[in-house]
Amino acid sequence: MSGTAINVLYFAQVAELTGTRIESWPLDKPVSGADWLAQLEARYPQLAPAQRLKLAVNQFHVKPSAVINPGDEVAVFEPVTGG
């Protein structure tokens, strides 16, 4: 996939709240992580109880100021709790 969409992955509680683990999300021009998260929260109001939402783009942690481009893999999750 490239050009007109991003591949979105949801993990852990975020996946439970959205009811899905993976979906294609139309995107035809770059958007900031913060702006995209606002779109996500508008689409999934049930995410409200989630703790701070974090993003990874192409499997790297990013800040909300990072740019998401069409074709990217974007992961959404709460702060990690391994170890």
């Binding site: 992955l9 999750f77 709790t81 391994g82 170890g83």
Partner: protein, 156 residues
């Protein structure tokens, strides 16, 4: 070496392998093993379910190990982390670090497990003996420890 697996691991065997690989160079070997424990007093943990982000998880832990080798004299850190359903008192994670000197080995081992807790994409879901189920939240103290490692600057 970084391994993420559902199967249990043999910590003694991992340590013996690391010892063999670094024989003659290493004057110290420090290991950390993490286990499933009770969530809190009076709230026995029945099971722990660990979810992860395949690919990113292995790469992120690999980056953490690489940072440790650049900062301290620790040639081949070993990290094994389990995922899936784990029961109380089972092993979760192993970190093994060998070095010429104990200071580097202690510091690198602690750095790796601290960084793993705040950077490696794993999520824990607890199920208590009562049946109550919830996703574990990141502890502020873990985030603070990782921040401390960043502010401490280059290795002494």
């Amino acid at each position: 070496m970084v391994i993420v697996q559902t199967d249990d691991f043999d910590a003694a065997k991992l340590t013996a392998q690391l010892r063999q690989q670094t024989a003659g160079q290493a004057g110290a070997l420090v290991t950390f093993t993490g286990y499933v424990r009770d969530y809190a007093e009076g709230h026995g943990t029945q099971t722990l379910f660990l979810e992860h982000y395949p690919g990113m998880c292995e790469r992120e832990i690999g980056d953490i190990c690489q940072q440790a080798t650049e900062r301290w004299n620790v040639p081949e850190p070993v990290v094994v982390h389990r995922v899936g359903e784990l029961h109380n008192s089972e092993q979760i994670v192993y970190v093994g670090v060998a070095s010429a000197h104990r200071g580097d080995a202690f510091r690198a081992c602690e750095f790796i497990i601290d960084a793993l807790k705040t950077r490696a994409p794993f999520w824990k879901r607890e199920t208590l003996a009562s049946g109550e189920r919830f996703w574990v939240q990141q502890r502020e103290s873990d985030a603070e420890k990782t921040a401390q490692w960043q502010s401490e600057g280059p290795a002494s």
